[in-house]
Subunit: 181 residues, 2 copies
Amino acid sequence: MARSSTRDEILRVATERFARFGYKGTSLQDIAAGVGCSKATLLYHFAGKEAILQELVAPAVRDLAELVARLQTLDDRTVPGAAIDGFVDLVLRYRHEVSLIYDAIPQFQHEPAFESVRPHTDLLRAALTGRSGDPAGVIAAEVLLAGIAGVAIDDERDAARLRPALIAVARRALIPPPDKD
Amino acid sequence: MARSSTRDEILRVATERFARFGYKGTSLQDIAAGVGCSKATLLYHFAGKEAILQELVAPAVRDLAELVARLQTLDDRTVPGAAIDGFVDLVLRYRHEVSLIYDAIPQFQHEPAFESVRPHTDLLRAALTGRSGDPAGVIAAEVLLAGIAGVAIDDERDAARLRPALIAVARRALIPPPDKD
DNA sequence: GTCTATAAACAGATAGAC
DNA sequence: GTCTATCTGTTTATAGAC
Protein backbone atom coordinates (compact mmCIF):
# COMPACT_ATOMS: atom_id res chain seq x y z
CA MET A 1 0.00 0.00 0.00
CA ALA A 2 1.45 3.27 -1.03
CA ARG A 3 0.95 5.08 -4.36
CA SER A 4 -2.09 7.23 -4.82
CA SER A 5 -0.97 10.85 -4.61
CA THR A 6 -4.03 12.69 -5.90
CA ARG A 7 -6.37 10.94 -3.51
CA ASP A 8 -4.05 11.57 -0.55
CA GLU A 9 -3.57 15.16 -1.63
CA ILE A 10 -7.34 15.69 -1.70
CA LEU A 11 -7.59 14.39 1.87
CA ARG A 12 -4.70 16.57 2.99
CA VAL A 13 -6.09 19.79 1.50
CA ALA A 14 -9.67 19.00 2.61
CA THR A 15 -8.55 18.39 6.20
CA GLU A 16 -6.79 21.73 6.34
CA ARG A 17 -9.61 23.71 4.71
CA PHE A 18 -12.39 22.05 6.74
CA ALA A 19 -10.50 22.85 9.96
CA ARG A 20 -9.87 26.48 8.94
CA PHE A 21 -13.24 27.41 7.42
CA GLY A 22 -15.54 24.66 8.67
CA TYR A 23 -17.28 21.93 6.68
CA LYS A 24 -20.05 24.19 5.40
CA GLY A 25 -17.59 26.99 4.80
CA THR A 26 -15.50 24.94 2.38
CA SER A 27 -16.70 24.11 -1.14
CA LEU A 28 -15.46 21.36 -3.46
CA GLN A 29 -14.25 24.23 -5.64
CA ASP A 30 -12.02 25.46 -2.79
CA ILE A 31 -10.54 22.00 -2.27
CA ALA A 32 -10.04 21.40 -6.00
CA ALA A 33 -8.24 24.73 -6.33
CA GLY A 34 -5.96 23.83 -3.43
CA VAL A 35 -5.16 20.43 -4.90
CA GLY A 36 -4.77 21.81 -8.42
CA CYS A 37 -7.39 19.63 -10.06
CA SER A 38 -11.04 19.85 -11.09
CA LYS A 39 -14.13 19.21 -9.00
CA ALA A 40 -14.86 16.20 -11.20
CA THR A 41 -11.58 14.61 -10.12
CA LEU A 42 -12.58 14.99 -6.47
CA LEU A 43 -15.83 13.20 -7.22
CA TYR A 44 -14.04 10.45 -9.11
CA HIS A 45 -12.05 9.62 -5.95
CA PHE A 46 -14.89 10.15 -3.45
CA ALA A 47 -18.62 9.54 -3.62
CA GLY A 48 -19.30 13.11 -2.49
CA LYS A 49 -18.31 15.88 -0.13
CA GLU A 50 -19.63 13.97 2.86
CA ALA A 51 -17.58 10.89 1.91
CA ILE A 52 -14.43 13.03 2.12
CA LEU A 53 -15.47 14.18 5.60
CA GLN A 54 -16.17 10.65 6.78
CA GLU A 55 -12.86 9.27 5.54
CA LEU A 56 -11.10 12.21 7.17
CA VAL A 57 -12.48 11.68 10.64
CA ALA A 58 -12.39 7.87 10.61
CA PRO A 59 -8.87 7.45 12.11
CA ALA A 60 -9.55 9.97 14.89
CA VAL A 61 -12.87 8.32 15.72
CA ARG A 62 -11.17 4.90 15.75
CA ASP A 63 -8.41 6.11 18.11
CA LEU A 64 -11.00 7.73 20.38
CA ALA A 65 -12.73 4.35 20.65
CA GLU A 66 -9.41 2.68 21.46
CA LEU A 67 -8.63 5.25 24.14
CA VAL A 68 -12.01 4.82 25.79
CA ALA A 69 -11.70 1.01 25.71
CA ARG A 70 -8.29 1.25 27.37
CA LEU A 71 -9.65 3.59 30.08
CA GLN A 72 -12.41 1.10 30.94
CA THR A 73 -9.74 -1.27 32.33
CA LEU A 74 -8.46 1.26 34.88
CA ASP A 75 -9.76 1.92 38.39
CA ASP A 76 -11.44 5.16 39.48
CA ARG A 77 -8.30 6.51 41.14
CA THR A 78 -5.91 6.18 38.19
CA VAL A 79 -8.37 6.79 35.36
CA PRO A 80 -8.52 10.63 35.40
CA GLY A 81 -4.77 11.07 34.84
CA ALA A 82 -4.75 8.49 32.06
CA ALA A 83 -7.81 10.09 30.47
CA ILE A 84 -6.12 13.49 30.45
CA ASP A 85 -2.90 12.19 28.92
CA GLY A 86 -4.79 10.12 26.38
CA PHE A 87 -7.12 12.91 25.31
CA VAL A 88 -4.34 15.47 24.97
CA ASP A 89 -2.29 13.05 22.88
CA LEU A 90 -5.33 12.22 20.73
CA VAL A 91 -6.14 15.86 20.15
CA LEU A 92 -2.56 16.75 19.26
CA ARG A 93 -2.25 13.76 16.90
CA TYR A 94 -5.47 14.78 15.12
CA ARG A 95 -5.59 18.56 15.65
CA HIS A 96 -7.40 19.35 12.43
CA GLU A 97 -9.72 16.36 12.60
CA VAL A 98 -10.81 16.93 16.20
CA SER A 99 -11.85 20.52 15.58
CA LEU A 100 -13.63 19.31 12.45
CA ILE A 101 -15.54 16.72 14.47
CA TYR A 102 -16.67 19.43 16.88
CA ASP A 103 -17.74 21.50 13.88
CA ALA A 104 -19.61 18.74 12.08
CA ILE A 105 -21.24 16.96 15.04
CA PRO A 106 -24.42 19.10 15.08
CA GLN A 107 -25.09 18.14 11.48
CA PHE A 108 -23.80 14.57 11.25
CA GLN A 109 -24.15 13.12 14.75
CA HIS A 110 -26.53 10.43 13.50
CA GLU A 111 -24.43 9.42 10.49
CA PRO A 112 -22.68 6.05 10.87
CA ALA A 113 -19.20 7.60 10.83
CA PHE A 114 -20.09 9.88 13.76
CA GLU A 115 -22.61 7.95 15.81
CA SER A 116 -20.00 6.50 18.16
CA VAL A 117 -18.51 9.90 19.00
CA ARG A 118 -21.15 11.06 21.50
CA PRO A 119 -21.22 7.88 23.58
CA HIS A 120 -17.43 7.72 23.59
CA THR A 121 -17.02 11.34 24.69
CA ASP A 122 -19.60 10.63 27.41
CA LEU A 123 -17.41 7.79 28.67
CA LEU A 124 -14.32 9.97 28.35
CA ARG A 125 -15.99 12.69 30.40
CA ALA A 126 -16.90 10.11 33.05
CA ALA A 127 -13.31 8.88 33.10
CA LEU A 128 -12.02 12.43 33.60
CA THR A 129 -14.09 12.78 36.76
CA GLY A 130 -13.14 9.35 38.12
CA ARG A 131 -16.78 8.36 37.39
CA SER A 132 -17.84 10.38 40.43
CA GLY A 133 -20.99 11.77 38.82
CA ASP A 134 -20.53 14.97 40.81
CA PRO A 135 -22.35 17.66 38.74
CA ALA A 136 -19.66 20.32 39.22
CA GLY A 137 -17.02 17.76 38.25
CA VAL A 138 -18.92 16.84 35.10
CA ILE A 139 -19.09 20.50 34.09
CA ALA A 140 -15.38 20.92 34.80
CA ALA A 141 -14.61 17.93 32.58
CA GLU A 142 -16.71 19.38 29.76
CA VAL A 143 -14.94 22.72 30.02
CA LEU A 144 -11.58 21.03 29.75
CA LEU A 145 -12.57 18.75 26.86
CA ALA A 146 -14.00 21.62 24.84
CA GLY A 147 -11.18 23.98 25.79
CA ILE A 148 -8.34 21.62 24.93
CA ALA A 149 -9.95 20.77 21.61
CA GLY A 150 -10.49 24.47 20.90
CA VAL A 151 -6.89 25.41 21.58
CA ALA A 152 -5.45 22.50 19.61
CA ILE A 153 -6.94 23.73 16.35
CA ASP A 154 -4.41 26.54 16.24
CA ASP A 155 -1.61 24.62 14.61
CA GLU A 156 0.77 27.55 14.56
CA ARG A 157 2.04 26.15 17.83
CA ASP A 158 4.46 23.31 18.40
CA ALA A 159 2.68 20.21 19.73
CA ALA A 160 5.69 19.35 21.92
CA ARG A 161 5.37 22.70 23.68
CA LEU A 162 1.58 22.55 23.88
CA ARG A 163 1.40 19.04 25.36
CA PRO A 164 2.77 19.67 28.88
CA ALA A 165 0.83 22.92 29.23
CA LEU A 166 -2.47 21.25 28.26
CA ILE A 167 -1.85 18.32 30.59
CA ALA A 168 -0.90 20.67 33.42
CA VAL A 169 -4.03 22.80 33.19
CA ALA A 170 -6.26 19.75 32.96
CA ARG A 171 -4.67 18.10 36.02
CA ARG A 172 -4.90 21.30 38.02
CA ALA A 173 -8.55 21.72 37.11
CA LEU A 174 -9.70 18.12 37.40
CA ILE A 175 -7.54 16.27 39.90
CA PRO A 176 -7.95 17.57 43.46
CA PRO A 177 -4.68 18.07 45.36
CA PRO A 178 -4.09 15.48 48.14
CA ASP A 179 -5.63 16.43 51.48
CA LYS A 180 -3.28 18.31 53.79
CA ASP A 181 -4.70 17.29 57.16
CA MET B 1 -39.67 51.16 23.05
CA ALA B 2 -41.69 48.05 22.73
CA ARG B 3 -43.84 46.89 19.82
CA SER B 4 -42.21 45.23 16.84
CA SER B 5 -42.88 41.50 17.12
CA THR B 6 -41.81 40.22 13.72
CA ARG B 7 -38.42 41.90 13.84
CA ASP B 8 -37.78 40.66 17.38
CA GLU B 9 -38.99 37.21 16.44
CA ILE B 10 -36.54 37.10 13.51
CA LEU B 11 -33.68 37.96 15.86
CA ARG B 12 -34.82 35.36 18.37
CA VAL B 13 -35.07 32.53 15.83
CA ALA B 14 -31.87 33.53 14.06
CA THR B 15 -29.90 33.57 17.32
CA GLU B 16 -31.04 30.08 18.19
CA ARG B 17 -30.45 28.62 14.70
CA PHE B 18 -27.04 30.28 14.25
CA ALA B 19 -25.92 28.92 17.62
CA ARG B 20 -27.17 25.41 16.84
CA PHE B 21 -26.09 24.99 13.20
CA GLY B 22 -23.58 27.80 12.73
CA TYR B 23 -23.87 30.93 10.57
CA LYS B 24 -23.06 29.13 7.32
CA GLY B 25 -25.20 26.19 8.32
CA THR B 26 -28.33 28.32 8.63
CA SER B 27 -30.14 29.70 5.58
CA LEU B 28 -32.60 32.58 5.39
CA GLN B 29 -35.11 29.91 4.39
CA ASP B 30 -34.51 28.10 7.71
CA ILE B 31 -35.01 31.29 9.71
CA ALA B 32 -38.09 32.31 7.74
CA ALA B 33 -39.64 28.88 8.32
CA GLY B 34 -38.94 29.15 12.05
CA VAL B 35 -40.51 32.60 12.23
CA GLY B 36 -43.39 31.62 9.98
CA CYS B 37 -42.82 34.27 7.32
CA SER B 38 -41.15 34.58 3.92
CA LYS B 39 -37.53 35.32 3.08
CA ALA B 40 -38.65 38.64 1.64
CA THR B 41 -39.99 39.69 5.05
CA LEU B 42 -36.60 38.95 6.61
CA LEU B 43 -34.98 41.17 4.03
CA TYR B 44 -37.51 43.93 4.59
CA HIS B 45 -36.44 44.14 8.25
CA PHE B 46 -32.71 43.60 7.68
CA ALA B 47 -30.33 44.64 4.92
CA GLY B 48 -29.14 41.04 4.54
CA LYS B 49 -28.11 37.88 6.35
CA GLU B 50 -24.94 39.49 7.65
CA ALA B 51 -26.91 42.45 9.05
CA ILE B 52 -28.92 40.01 11.17
CA LEU B 53 -25.67 38.52 12.48
CA GLN B 54 -24.22 41.91 13.29
CA GLU B 55 -27.28 43.11 15.17
CA LEU B 56 -27.30 39.83 17.06
CA VAL B 57 -23.76 40.04 18.36
CA ALA B 58 -23.68 43.80 19.00
CA PRO B 59 -24.85 43.72 22.65
CA ALA B 60 -22.44 40.91 23.55
CA VAL B 61 -19.54 42.71 21.87
CA ARG B 62 -20.46 45.92 23.69
CA ASP B 63 -20.56 44.18 27.07
CA LEU B 64 -17.24 42.47 26.36
CA ALA B 65 -15.70 45.90 25.77
CA GLU B 66 -17.19 47.17 29.03
CA LEU B 67 -15.83 44.18 30.94
CA VAL B 68 -12.33 44.64 29.54
CA ALA B 69 -12.38 48.36 30.31
CA ARG B 70 -13.38 47.62 33.90
CA LEU B 71 -10.59 45.04 34.25
CA GLN B 72 -7.99 47.58 33.14
CA THR B 73 -8.53 49.50 36.38
CA LEU B 74 -7.61 46.52 38.59
CA ASP B 75 -4.14 45.48 39.77
CA ASP B 76 -2.42 42.24 38.71
CA ARG B 77 -3.32 40.42 41.93
CA THR B 78 -7.06 41.01 41.88
CA VAL B 79 -7.64 41.01 38.11
CA PRO B 80 -7.75 37.23 37.45
CA GLY B 81 -10.65 36.59 39.81
CA ALA B 82 -12.61 39.55 38.44
CA ALA B 83 -11.88 38.43 34.88
CA ILE B 84 -13.21 34.94 35.61
CA ASP B 85 -16.42 36.22 37.25
CA GLY B 86 -16.94 38.79 34.51
CA PHE B 87 -16.38 36.35 31.64
CA VAL B 88 -18.64 33.67 33.12
CA ASP B 89 -21.41 36.22 33.66
CA LEU B 90 -20.95 37.56 30.13
CA VAL B 91 -21.09 34.10 28.60
CA LEU B 92 -24.18 33.10 30.58
CA ARG B 93 -25.95 36.36 29.71
CA TYR B 94 -25.21 35.81 25.99
CA ARG B 95 -24.95 32.02 25.71
CA HIS B 96 -26.09 31.78 22.10
CA GLU B 97 -24.31 34.89 20.96
CA VAL B 98 -20.92 33.99 22.42
CA SER B 99 -20.82 30.63 20.71
CA LEU B 100 -21.92 32.36 17.54
CA ILE B 101 -19.06 34.83 17.81
CA TYR B 102 -16.62 31.92 18.14
CA ASP B 103 -18.20 30.37 15.05
CA ALA B 104 -18.21 33.51 12.92
CA ILE B 105 -14.87 35.04 13.91
CA PRO B 106 -12.78 33.21 11.27
CA GLN B 107 -14.97 34.69 8.55
CA PHE B 108 -15.88 38.12 9.89
CA GLN B 109 -13.00 39.15 12.15
CA HIS B 110 -12.26 42.17 9.97
CA GLU B 111 -15.85 43.40 9.72
CA PRO B 112 -16.59 46.51 11.81
CA ALA B 113 -18.98 44.68 14.14
CA PHE B 114 -16.30 42.09 14.99
CA GLU B 115 -12.99 43.93 14.73
CA SER B 116 -12.87 44.78 18.43
CA VAL B 117 -13.40 41.17 19.54
CA ARG B 118 -9.85 39.87 19.00
CA PRO B 119 -8.08 42.72 20.80
CA HIS B 120 -10.56 42.53 23.65
CA THR B 121 -10.21 38.76 24.07
CA ASP B 122 -6.43 39.26 24.02
CA LEU B 123 -6.77 41.69 26.93
CA LEU B 124 -9.18 39.34 28.67
CA ARG B 125 -6.71 36.48 28.31
CA ALA B 126 -3.96 38.70 29.75
CA ALA B 127 -6.22 39.63 32.66
CA LEU B 128 -6.91 35.96 33.40
CA THR B 129 -3.18 35.31 33.80
CA GLY B 130 -2.57 38.41 35.93
CA ARG B 131 -0.66 39.74 32.89
CA SER B 132 2.19 37.38 33.72
CA GLY B 133 2.96 36.44 30.12
CA ASP B 134 3.95 32.96 31.28
CA PRO B 135 3.43 30.73 28.17
CA ALA B 136 1.84 27.86 30.10
CA GLY B 137 -0.45 30.35 31.84
CA VAL B 138 -1.50 31.84 28.51
CA ILE B 139 -2.38 28.39 27.19
CA ALA B 140 -4.34 27.63 30.37
CA ALA B 141 -6.30 30.86 29.95
CA GLU B 142 -7.12 29.99 26.35
CA VAL B 143 -8.32 26.52 27.34
CA LEU B 144 -10.63 28.01 29.95
CA LEU B 145 -11.99 30.74 27.67
CA ALA B 146 -12.75 28.31 24.87
CA GLY B 147 -14.03 25.63 27.25
CA ILE B 148 -16.40 27.91 29.17
CA ALA B 149 -17.76 29.34 25.93
CA GLY B 150 -18.15 25.83 24.53
CA VAL B 151 -20.10 24.54 27.53
CA ALA B 152 -22.35 27.59 27.75
CA ILE B 153 -23.90 26.95 24.33
CA ASP B 154 -25.81 23.99 25.76
CA ASP B 155 -28.79 25.91 27.08
CA GLU B 156 -30.56 22.87 28.41
CA ARG B 157 -28.87 23.71 31.67
CA ASP B 158 -29.86 26.28 34.24
CA ALA B 159 -27.51 29.27 34.27
CA ALA B 160 -27.77 29.59 38.04
CA ARG B 161 -26.47 26.05 38.45
CA LEU B 162 -23.80 26.44 35.78
CA ARG B 163 -22.34 29.69 37.12
CA PRO B 164 -20.66 28.48 40.33
CA ALA B 165 -19.31 25.36 38.61
CA LEU B 166 -17.76 27.37 35.78
CA ILE B 167 -16.23 29.89 38.18
CA ALA B 168 -14.89 27.09 40.37
CA VAL B 169 -13.14 25.23 37.56
CA ALA B 170 -11.64 28.44 36.21
CA ARG B 171 -10.31 29.51 39.61
CA ARG B 172 -8.85 26.07 40.26
CA ALA B 173 -7.16 26.04 36.86
CA LEU B 174 -5.94 29.62 36.71
CA ILE B 175 -5.36 30.93 40.23
CA PRO B 176 -2.49 29.15 42.02
CA PRO B 177 -3.26 28.16 45.61
CA PRO B 178 -1.44 30.27 48.21
CA ASP B 179 2.01 28.96 49.14
CA LYS B 180 1.99 26.66 52.13
CA ASP B 181 5.49 27.33 53.54
C1' DG C 1 -7.67 9.40 -14.06
C1' DT C 2 -8.53 13.76 -15.45
C1' DC C 3 -10.83 17.04 -17.99
C1' DT C 4 -14.87 20.43 -19.89
C1' DA C 5 -19.58 21.11 -20.02
C1' DT C 6 -23.74 20.97 -17.87
C1' DA C 7 -27.53 19.69 -15.01
C1' DA C 8 -30.29 20.37 -10.75
C1' DA C 9 -30.83 22.30 -6.42
C1' DC C 10 -30.15 25.95 -3.34
C1' DA C 11 -28.27 30.35 -1.64
C1' DG C 12 -28.94 35.46 -0.88
C1' DA C 13 -31.24 39.22 -2.66
C1' DT C 14 -34.72 42.24 -5.60
C1' DA C 15 -39.30 43.75 -7.95
C1' DG C 16 -43.63 44.69 -7.64
C1' DA C 17 -48.52 43.46 -6.22
C1' DC C 18 -51.49 43.75 -2.26
C1' DG D 1 -45.42 45.05 6.37
C1' DT D 2 -45.90 40.85 3.97
C1' DC D 3 -46.38 38.25 0.07
C1' DT D 4 -45.26 35.63 -4.71
C1' DA D 5 -42.36 35.52 -8.40
C1' DT D 6 -37.99 36.05 -10.14
C1' DC D 7 -33.03 37.07 -10.79
C1' DT D 8 -28.22 35.79 -10.12
C1' DG D 9 -24.63 33.40 -8.40
C1' DT D 10 -22.85 29.22 -6.23
C1' DT D 11 -23.20 24.53 -4.75
C1' DT D 12 -23.05 19.51 -5.27
C1' DA D 13 -23.07 16.21 -8.60
C1' DT D 14 -23.27 13.88 -13.40
C1' DA D 15 -22.20 12.97 -18.55
C1' DG D 16 -19.21 12.10 -21.72
C1' DA D 17 -14.78 13.20 -24.33
C1' DC D 18 -9.82 12.28 -24.02
